[in-house]
């Protein structure tokens, strides 16, 4: 090796005008594959049911060339559920990737930022309380909306309690864990003192489910996710350097304090949107970024791939729960039963390779 030999960077950079990024063929191909798989599962999920419809007909109907019968079954009956699964998975995956990146902790997830716990305690209270006020609340605003309000309340409480001259990842997760511990203790206590039939209903809600979604609920989560994902995309170029630490990020021209605050708020709101559509589906937000990281061989949780893994996981779990299992289980249980072992498998495989 002579002295003039300059080591070429392993991954080439690409510059387009004022934008520049690193060209990672593996990440891109994994993301494209994931997107394709998600679309396929989405279509299969729509096609499966009492009136089975083949994937080509589903695709044709989605793009507006279907028959009238198919159109009714797909667009009016099945689309809300499938779309809810897709959006909830996407929102949870992105939210988890943001949380884990900003907290720089692979155990962090929006589950510990208070949203899940706050929503859970409100829902359990409304289900188990026998008073007239609780029934009135449920009948006027609905259980999901009330729970969403509880989740948002707890999430924003965590956010503002952790705010002290900017958001700090470490402080945020510790405050989040404290608030979550309180809400979980309240939930446990409510469940322990309630009537057992109410407990079964409350527990079913706590696991998260996609049953009986209507267009109204899906519309809310759709527009919320769209706006939030747009904000995240706009901030994404400022996001990458955050992994290098505050000083380096500041040196690279990132207003890290502001970017972090905005992105975390997006993470909280995305998780809240997901809760509003499907209840507190656990674990997706925790598992999806870690799985995406390992599939994409990327040192940090990749945003797009994390969202796609979340969507794929939720849609796949819903499909398995409806089509393959002898008993009916809420999607949250199946998601965890698939996601946990898959994460362990990826860990073991990467350890064997090293």
């Amino acid at each position: 090796m002579n002295g003039t030999d300059v080591k070429r960077p392993v991954v080439p950079g690409v510059r387009l005008g004022s934008m520049s990024f690193v060209w990672r063929p593996w990440l891109v191909s994994v993301t494209v594959l994931l997107a394709g798989a998600t679309f396929l599962v989405f279509c299969v999920s729509i096609g499966v049911g009492d009136f089975p419809i083949g994937v080509p007909r589903v695709v044709a109907t989605i793009f507006g060339h279907g028959e009238q019968v198919d159109e009714f079954v797909i667009m009016d009956l099945r689309m809300p559920r499938a779309l809810a699964g897709l959006l909830v998975g996407l929102a949870l995956g992105v939210s988890g990737a943001l949380t884990q990146s900003i907290a720089r902790n692979p155990l962090a997830s929006p589950d510990i930022l208070g949203i899940t716990g706050g929503a859970g305690v409100v829902a359990v209270f409304l289900v188990t309380a026998s008073g007239g006020a609780a029934a009135a609340v449920v009948s006027t605003v609905g259980l999901s909306a009330a729970a969403l309000a509880g989740g948002l309340g707890a999430g924003l409480l965590v956010y503002f309690l952790a705010w002290r001259r900017g958001i700090d990842g470490f402080r945020l997760i510790l405050i989040g864990i404290s608030v979550t511990a309180v809400t979980e203790a309240l939930t446990t206590w409510l469940l322990a003192t309630a009537d057992i039939r109410d407990v079964a209903r409350a527990q079913a809600w706590l696991v998260g489910s996609l049953d009986n979604r209507s267009w109204d609920e899906v519309r809310v989560v759709f527009w919320c996710s769209l706006v939030l994902l747009a904000v995240v995309t706009a901030a994404a170029f400022q996001f990458r350097p955050l992994h290098l630490g505050d000083e380096v990020a500041a040196g690279l021209g990132v207003r890290f304090s502001r970017v972090r605050a905005v992105l975390l708020l997006c993470a909280v709101l995305l998780a809240a949107a997901a809760v509003s559509a499907a209840g507190p589906v656990p674990f997706v937000a925790l598992v999806a970024p870690q799985v995406a990281m390992r599939l994409a061989r990327h040192p940090t949780p990749p945003l797009v791939a994390s969202g796609l893994v979340g969507a794929l996981l939720l849609l796949g779990a819903d499909l398995v729960a409806r089509a393959a299992l002898p008993i009916t289980l809420p999607v949250g249980v199946v998601t965890a039963a698939i996601g946990g072992p898959f994460l362990v498998y990826l860990l073991v495989r990467s350890n064997l390779r090293q």
Partner: protein, 377 residues
Amino acid sequence: MLPDRSRIPQLPLKHRMIKGISYVDMSTSAVERPVIRGAAEARRRRAVGLGALVAVLVAGVVASLAVGARALSPAEVWHGLFAAPDSDQRLTEIRLIVQTVRVPRTVLAVVAGIALGVGGALIQGYTRNPIADTGLLGVNSGASFAVVTVIAVFGPTSPFQYVWFAFLGAGAAGVVVFGLSSIGRGAGNPLTLALAGQGVTVFLAAMTMAIALSDLKALDALRFWNAGSVAGVGFDVIGPVGAFVAVGVLLALTTLPSLNLLNLGDDVARGLGVNIALSRTVGIVAITLLAGAATAACGPIAFLGLMVAHVARYLTGPDYRWLVPYAGLLGAVVLLVCDIVGRLVVRPGELDAGVVVALLGAPFFAALVWRGKFRSA
């Protein structure tokens, strides 16, 4: 003529020269080591703090014996503990209360508190993660899964019968997590350990929920199990649990010096002669024993281990030889106090200790976090 030696300025013996650079020869002379004045003072303060914690614990034990649905005076407690059986009905009643109700739950609160405190400090050290809790290695979800399975398969049983299944479940989950994280070259790497623990926890929690949702009796048992309580367990359970905890604490204490070095990073620790694999294995066995025994006897008490580990780190600094004893004593004090509070707040009923720990401890902890008292592990 030789120069007069006395004219050459004599360097003190301990200064030698190499190529004109003077250095202090540490090998031959009694160089005065710099005395870090703070160190002795800090050591003294930590020892005093430890003594104060023991005193608080003793006071808590006395209070725990006296306070409850029927308040007892210290004299009555003394009598209930040590007096010989006699025919006086009032005194017999007091003896019964003290010996069969108050003493077991007090002992269990202390034992479980120590176990969870020490376990919490260790798990944060071994995973190098400030949000690791004693449930991370799958212990809590393994125990819950075992409880639910036993009830679904054998029908409803009394809580005393599923304690051992819970312990088995907790231990099995711990072994599986450790086994999975040590396959290949990962060998107990903190990140792999934490994520494998999460993966197994997630899976077991899903299975638990699947069973509980399809079996109403299992769900009924699960909701009480989840609350986490130190009441209603007899010495037939506390004895073996105490033995497991004792073994766990002993193992934990032996690993503390190497845990200190491990926290400097694997390479530094290896360079300083730590057998990393051995240290991690012993540490994780200790955590599983401690958390498993406490969880089997009380049910999952979340947050306690995490909280006291941070408070102990704030009080002692990062030296695990001090941190772990502090965490153990703090755990015992907190669990004992929470159990006493739980007896008083919703009279004539009781609030489970696990619930009180979160309701009282978490706001306190959050306030400390907000004031910037804690640093990352």
